[in-house]
């Protein structure tokens, strides 16, 4: 087998492995911390899983001992848990994480749904219809791609607060409903769909809107999946905008904002439950991604058209 050894191949693999490690390590730390006790995290002991030695839950003790005198042994006994249970239970009890997750699902899916509702007809018009000023409109779309979100965050905030929408689902959803990236991506994909297919649909009696939803959409499933991943990942993980749009009402918190509950309060940083929360937040994305990946590979082929 020595004869098959290739220095360049080995070098490539080493580089890729290092790259993979850099990407994976934060997730490794997150998963590991979510299972360890605070002491183990501070001293960096216990390996990946930690020792899982039962520990005393200080929050539990404090909550059941309002007088502040030295807690009884019984109470300490009742508040003793293994670190992994402590971390994950705290993640759900210290903050209403379930509500945040549902908020996240609602906001992300609403954004995606409305984005598709806007982007598909738009992309269809830009790709397949001839009208005066089409190229100018497309240039505007490209131009909008260049504008960073952060640049317009403040004016957006002011506009939303003027109409009284701050601290609402609308504030979280409305600014994202028109995705120029989505329009651009779908337009590029629609360009590859033969005009004959659209003409056939017109002769068959479909209206332009029917063509968008009944012909273009089914053909564009692979592109739409790609767009869904971009959109859902970006908005599920978004910390910046919800932090601005939700100023006081914690009922509208999205999952990333939930992480703040464990950060920098009077107890100091509590990494265990925080990392447990982070793990819970990323899990749905990873699961969705794996499911979508299969769909990607299966993807509806366009081979029937050419």
């Amino acid at each position: 087998m020595i004869s098959n050894f290739s220095a360049t191949q080995a070098l490539k693999h080493v580089t890729l492995i290092i790259g993979a490690l850099i990407v994976i390590l934060p997730f490794y730390a997150m998963l590991s911390y979510s299972m360890k006790s605070p002491h183990e995290i501070e001293t960096n002991t216990g390996g990946f899983f930690g020792d899982q030695k039962p520990m005393v839950d200080e929050w539990c003790v404090k909550a059941n001992n309002p007088s502040g005198v030295l807690p009884s042994e019984e109470l300490k006994q009742a508040c003793t848990k293994t670190p992994i249970v402590f971390n994950y239970v705290s993640a759900f009890t210290k903050a209403p994480l379930v509500r945040y997750l549902l908020n996240g699902v609602f906001v992300t899916l609403s954004i995606f749904f409305i984005q598709v509702l806007v982007a598909l007809p738009c992309a269809y018009a830009l790709a397949k219809l001839k009208f005066w000023g089409r190229d100018a409109v497309f240039m505007l779309v490209l131009f909008c791609l260049l504008i960073p979100v952060h640049a317009i965050a403040l004016p957006l905030y002011i506009m939303l607060s003027k109409v009284g929408l701050i601290n609402s689902y609308a504030a979280l959803i409305v600014p994202w409903t028109i995705s120029v990236f989505g329009i651009f991506l779908m337009r590029q994909f629609f360009m590859t769909i033969p005009d004959d297919l659209i003409d056939a649909a017109r002769i068959d009696g479909m209206s332009e809107f029917s063509i968008v939803w009944k012909v273009m959409l089914p053909c564009a499933i692979p592109a739409l999946m790609a767009f869904a991943i971009f959109s859902v990942v970006a908005h599920w993980n978004d910390y910046f905008w919800p932090r601005i749009a939700v100023t006081s009402d914690r009922n509208y918190f999205t999952p990333p904002l939930g992480l703040r509950m464990f950060k920098g309060d009077s107890d100091g940083d509590v990494y265990g439950p925080m990392m447990a929360t982070a793990t819970i937040i990323v899990t749905p994305l990873i699961v969705a991604f794996l499911l979508a990946q299969r769909k990607f590979i299966e993807g509806i082929t366009l081979s029937g058209m050419k």
Binding site: P194, D196, A200, R202, S303, K306
Partner: protein, 379 residues
Amino acid sequence: MASVTIQNIDKSFGTVKVLNGVSIDIEDGEFIVLVGPSGCGKSTLLRIIAGLENQNSGSIKIGNNIVDNLHASLRDIAMVFQSYALYPHLSVAENISVPLRMRRLNFLQRFPIIGRFIPGSKAAKASIKKDVDEVTEMLGIEELLHRKPGQLSGGQRQRVAVGRAMVRHPQAFLMDEPLSNLDAERRVHMRAEIAELHRRLESTFIYVTHDQAEAMTMADRVAVMMDGDLLQVDTPRNVYANPVDIRVAEFIGSPKINILSAQSNDTGDVNVGDMVLAGVKSAAKNSKIQVGVRPEAVTLEPKNSAGIPCHIVHHENLGSEAYFHVELNSGERVISRMDASAIDQFSTGHDASVMLHSNNVLLFDNDGQRIVTHNEVVM
């Protein structure tokens, strides 16, 4: 079933003129083939008839109705596209039923689940299924009903596309090079099948192709188009034997017609090189003209004084016949089509004499217009 009247259609894209006042009267039940090289405007004309493109001026009449302002779906015509344009996400049965669903079901009835509960949808769906079954049986594609277009061969897709066109019994069928995506063998087969379908449906067919073999074999009448002009509409036989324009003569026929420059004298005799064409009198006297001779009207003979001396440059043996490419002293090339047995006598590199069969000679003036000769009259 209806006649289609095309009156004076003009069309330009920007500054490029693609159709110059094209007029054709297509009779009810006729199979007409629009043929011409690519870019001649034939597909544009078809798209204008279909309503997919608007003409700049002129008018289209289907049956007794002027359809210029009607949307494609309201013109009651069906079109078969070169790429078949089947909906890739729908099965064969669903593809064929789309035109009927759009016409017989209303907006609510077409909805996926709710549609079932809207009154009347059951009966309408049953009638659609019946019509789809009828068409698929006629085309012999019953066993493909549940497949997706991606799982079909080219010929099968082509049939499904024809089925989708047939299913609603349109006034006319428009076909835009429907065979050009098939391999040569299948194309010959489908050619016969489409001609047969036309006989069975007795409907009006307007068929666009750049392939003169398709035009000649299937058409009742051939319309030859070139550079946006309609040059000639006539039976395949007449288009071949009696072209009105040198461009028609050159486009139709394979191998291409031989064109030789010639001179007519004041009595109308025609001189090709030193040879006088016996029995041919040109109406254009004393002028430079062009002589067109089909390859089968050119024969080679051993060197003699009656024919035009030539040198055989190349010969092709096609089994039943052979093509001889010869060069005249003037440098002009001529192709002769003879029985394959002639190869024994004439072969590449030898000298011979070319004989032109005078009664098959076509004369054109320098602008390419047909000149009247004494023994035939241009139509």
